[in-house]
C-alpha cells in the first residue's frame, strides 16, 4: 500500500469526522494511507517550474488513474508547451510489494515507448521539484513514525505533527529522502505540510497543500507546491495546480495500456 498515492490523487483524503485522539503516529498514517481516493480520478492540471531567478516554465497536463483489483494504474499526458506536448507516462503500482512497479515513458519526438527501470525514485519528475517517489508514492511500512505534537495548527486547522524515518538505507537510496516531518490535518487526514531532508546536496524541501476542498466527499488539495532549498536559500520550486478534477467517472481499462500513449489523447 502506498502512503502517498501520488500526484494523480493529489493528496486527497476521505473525511473522517471526530478522528480518535488516542491514535499512534503509525495508526494516523495508516488512516491516511487507507483513505478513499475514489475508484477513478480524471484531472487537468498546470505545473509551474520556477528557478532561483524567478524564471517560470509552465506545463499543462492531463491525468487519469484507476484502482484495479490488485494494481493502481495511472497515465498522464503533457498537453503543453509544444516541445513536450504528447509526452506520456504510464505506471502500474502493484499492491504486492514484492512486484516491481511497471513504468513506461512515451516521447513524441522519438514516437517510441521506452520502459523505465523504476527502482530509483529519487529523480526529478518531469523537471519538477517532485520526485518519482512523490508522484508514485512510498510504502507505509518502510518507515518508523513518531508523533511529535498532538496538536499543531496549520492555517487554522488542527494538525498532528509527525516525523517519519526510513527503516533502511535501501529506502533512503530509493527515495533520496533522509527524514520527513509532516503535518496531517485532523479533519481531513490530509498531509498539508512536509519538511523533507534530502540526502543529495544536503537540501531541504518544503511541501505544502493549499486550496483544500471537499469534492464529492473527497478532500482535495487543489494546489500543492514543493520548494527546494539549500543553505536556507531557495534553489527551485514547483507549483502543481488542479484546474479540473472529477472522481468515480467511467474510465475504460484500455485507457491504461501502452498503445494509449502511442495513440495520444
Amino acid at each position: 500500500m502506498k502512503i502517498i498515492k501520488g500526484l494523480i490523487t493529489v493528496f486527497i483524503s476521505f473525511f473522517i469526522a471526530g478522528a480518535s485522539n488516542a491514535l499512534t503516529a503509525y495508526e494516523i498514517m495508516k488512516k491516511v494511507d487507507e483513505r478513499d481516493t475514489g475508484k477513478t480520478q480524471i484531472s487537468k492540471a498546470t505545473m509551474v517550474l520556477i528557478d532561483k531567478k524567478d524564471r517560470k516554465r509552465v506545463r499543462k497536463l492531463q491525468l487519469f488513474s484507476k484502482d484495479f483489483e490488485n494494481v493502481d494504474k495511472s497515465i498522464s499526458f503533457f498537453t503543453s508547451p509544444s516541445d513536450v506536448k504528447d509526452t506520456a507516462f504510464l505506471s502500474y503500482d502493484w499492491e504486492d510489494d514484492k512486484r516491481e512497479d511497471d513504468s513506461w515513458l512515451y516521447l513524441p519526438s522519438m514516437q517510441r515507448v521506452n520502459r523505465i527501470a523504476s527502482s530509483d525514485k529519487s529523480n526529478s519528475w518531469m523537471g519538477s521539484d517532485f520526485t518519482f517517489s512523490d508522484v508514485e508514492g512510498t510504502e507505509l511500512n518502510d518507515y518508523n513514525y513518531e508523533l511529535l505534537a498532538e496538536s499543531d495548527p496549520v492555517g487554522g486547522h488542527d494538525c498532528w505533527k509527525i516525523q517519519s524515518l526510513p527503516k533502511s538505507k535501501d529506502v533512503i537510496e530509493k527515495t533520496g529522502y533522509l527524514k520527513s516531518v509532516f503535518w496531517v490535518r485532523k479533519d481531513a487526514l490530509l498531509i498539508v505540510r512536509n519538511i523533507i531532508n534530502v540526502k543529495k546536496g544536503k537540501r531541504i524541501k518544503y511541501f505544502s497543500a493549499k486550496d483544500i476542498e471537499n469534492i464529492n466527499g473527497i478532500w482535495t488539495a487543489r494546489t500543492i507546491q514543493m520548494v527546494t532549498t539549500k543553505n536556507k536559500k531557495v534553489q527551485h520550486s514547483s507549483v502543481f495546480k488542479l484546474d479540473e478534477v472529477s472522481y468515480n467517472k467511467d474510465l475504460k481499462d484500455t485507457m491504461f495500456e501502452v498503445e494509449t500513449m502511442q495513440r495520444g489523447l
Partner: protein, 467 residues
C-alpha cells in the same frame, strides 16, 4: 551555594529562553517556504466548478490545435576532406532554416487526425572551394498525415503516413523494420528526424493477454543517403578512388507492399514481442554498374527480406536489460569488391543486447552490443562470418531538465569504424531551445566503412523556437 544556584538558574534560563527564541526564529524563517508562490493563474481555466457538464465534456472531446517550430541551424566541418567531395576544406557545410508545422484534430472521442510538414531552406552549398549562397535549395516534406480510428474494445487503426517505432536497441536494425532511416549525416541527424515516415495501415488489437499489431506498408522507400557528391556520399567515395564520378539510380521494388506482424506481451517487470515481417530492405544494394567515360552509373535495388524475430526488455532494480534477435532471409552481401556484381544472397542472424543503469541521480548510463552471424559464409565475401559492434552512452539531465548532455561512442558492426558524439541541449525558455552536437569519425583501415569520411568531423548548432 546560593550563588552557584543563581548562576545555574541564569544559565538554564538563558539556554531555555534563547533556545526557544532561536527555535522560534528558525520556525518563522522556515514558514516563508510554505508561503503561497505567486504564479500567473489562468482564472478562466481554474474553474471553481470542478464537475464538467455534458456539454463541456463533448466540447473537450472535439479539439483542434496547431503547433510548430522555427529553427535555424548550421553545420561546420572541422576537418579537410579529400577533393573527392564537394567540401574539400574546413568550413561551413550547411546553413539551414527549418519551419515545422503540426496540426492535430480530435473529431470525436474515437477519431483523430494529425498532419505535419517541414519546409527546409538550405541557404547555399559548397562550390568551387567555398560555401556559396548561390546554391540555395528548398524542400517541402510531409511527415505525419494520418487518421486514427479507435474503438472502446481497444482496437485501433491508424491509416496514413506515419512512424511505427518499436525497437529496443539503437545500434542495429533487427526487428524494427517498418521505417527507413535518415543516414545522410551519420551522427548528426536529430533523433526525432532519424526515422522516415511511410504510408501504412496499422491495426492494433488486444488479443487475450497480449496485443497484436498488423502493419501493411505501401511504397515505403529506402534509407535517405547523402546527396551525390556531398560529404557522406558513400558510393562516390568508393568510385572516386578509381577516378570515377558516380550517379545512382534507385530501381522500384518488385513488390511495393510490405507486411509486419507483432505480438506484444506487457508483463510485470518486462515486455516481450514476437515479430514476423516480409519487407523491402531499406538499405539498397547495387544491381548494375555502367561506366561511360568518367561517369559510373549504379542502379540500386531493394532486397526482399523475411524477418522472424524476438525482442523485449527486463527490469531489475535500477537496471533495464534489452534484447533483440532475428533471422533475416533475403539480403545480399558484397563480395570482395563493391563493384563485383551481383552481390551474394545469404541468411543472417542478427542480435543485440543492451543494459541501462538508472541508479545515479539525473544520470543514465547505457551500453549495447550487437552481432551478426552470416549463414553459408564463404571467403569471397567482404563481410566476416561473425561481426560485432557496440554503443556506449552517458546522459545527464540537470537544473530541473533545463540542460541535458549526452555523450556516445559507437563502434560500427562489421569493421573498426567508430563515431564519437557529444550532444548538448539547453532550454533558454519554454519556447526557445539551443542545442549543439559534435561528431568525430574514426577509421583505421581503408576497408572500414567510415574511412573515406574520417576527415569529416563536424559540429552542429541550432536555435529552435517552438509555438
Amino acid at each position: 551555594m546560593t550563588r552557584f544556584f543563581l548562576i545555574n538558574f541564569l544559565f538554564w534560563f538563558l539556554s531555555v529562553s534563547l533556545g526557544g527564541l532561536l527555535a522560534q526564529t528558525d520556525s518563522s524563517f522556515e514558514d516563508q517556504f510554505f508561503d503561497d508562490i505567486e504564479i500567473d493563474s489562468d482564472d478562466e481555466s481554474f474553474k471553481s466548478s470542478v464537475e464538467l457538464s455534458k456539454a463541456e465534456e463533448d466540447s473537450v472531446s472535439r479539439t483542434f490545435d496547431i503547433s510548430g517550430s522555427v529553427s535555424q541551424g548550421a553545420i561546420v566541418g572541422l576537418g579537410d576532406p579529400s577533393d573527392h567531395f564537394q567540401r574539400e576544406a574546413k568550413g561551413v557545410e550547411s546553413v539551414k532554416t527549418e519551419i515545422f508545422l503540426l496540426s492535430q484534430g480530435k473529431h470525436s472521442e474515437n477519431m483523430k487526425s494529425k498532419i505535419s510538414a517541414v519546409v527546409e531552406y538550405e541557404w547555399g552549398g559548397w562550390e568551387n572551394g567555398s560555401y556559396s549562397f548561390e546554391a540555395s535549395q528548398k524542400a517541402l516534406e510531409v511527415r505525419d498525415l494520418f487518421l486514427d480510428i479507435s474503438h472502446e474494445s481497444g482496437v485501433w487503426i491508424r491509416v496514413g503516413n506515419q512512424i511505427i517505432a518499436r525497437s529496443q536497441l539503437d545500434s542495429l536494425k533487427i526487428t524494427d523494420v517498418v521505417n527507413p532511416l535518415d543516414l545522410s549525416t551519420p551522427g548528426l541527424v536529430d533523433l526525432k528526424d532519424l526515422r522516415i515516415h511511410v504510408p501504412a495501415i496499422l491495426l492494433s488489437t488486444p488479443l487475450k493477454s497480449a496485443n497484436l499489431e498488423l502493419v501493411v506498408i505501401y511504397d515505403g522507400g529506402g534509407n535517405k543517403n547523402a546527396p551525390s557528391g556531398s560529404s557522406f556520399d558513400f558510393a562516390n567515395s568508393i568510385l572516386n578512388q578509381q577516378g570515377l564520378y558516380s550517379e545512382t539510380i534507385d530501381d522500384e521494388p518488385q513488390n511495393k507492399f510490405e507486411a509486419v506482424g507483432r505480438l506484444n506481451y506487457r508483463l510485470n517487470g518486462g515486455d516481450l514481442s514476437l515479430t514476423i515481417a516480409d519487407v523491402n530492405w531499406d538499405s539498397l544494394t547495387p544491381r548494375l554498374l555502367e561506366i561511360h567515360g568518367e561517369v559510373a552509373t549504379i542502379k540500386q535495388g531493394y532486397d526482399r527480406v523475411k524477418v522472424l524475430g524476438l525482442s523485449g526488455n527486463l527490469v531489475r532494480s535500477d537496471y533495464l536489460f534489452k534484447y533483440e534477435i532475428a533471422l533475416h532471409d533475403g539480403r545480399v552481401f558484397q563480395r570482395d569488391l563493391y563493384t563485383a556484381l551481383p552481390w551474394s544472397p545469404h541468411k543472417q542472424i542478427v542480435s543485440g543486447v543492451g543494459i541501462e543503469y538508472n541508479g545515479i541521480s539525473d544520470i543514465v548510463l547505457s551500453g549495447e552490443i550487437s552481432n551478426t552471424y552470416m549463414l553459408d559464409h564463404n571467403d569471397s565475401l567482404f563481410n566476416s562470418e561473425f561481426e560485432t559492434g557496440y554503443i556506449l552512452q552517458a546522459r545527464w539531465t540537470g537544473l530541473n531538465d533545463i540542460v541535458s548532455v549526452n555523450g556516445a561512442y559507437s563502434k560500427l558492426t562489421g569493421d573498426d569504424s567508430s563515431i564519437y558524439t557529444l550532444f548538448f541541449e539547453y532550454d533558454l525558455t519554454d519556447n526557445l531551445k539551443f542545442d549543439s552536437q559534435i561528431a568525430l569519425y574514426d577509421a583505421s583501415s581503408q576497408n572500414d566503412f567510415l574511412f573515406p569520411f574520417k576527415k569529416h568531423d563536424a559540429i552542429k548548432g541550432s536555435l529552435k523556437y517552438s509555438f
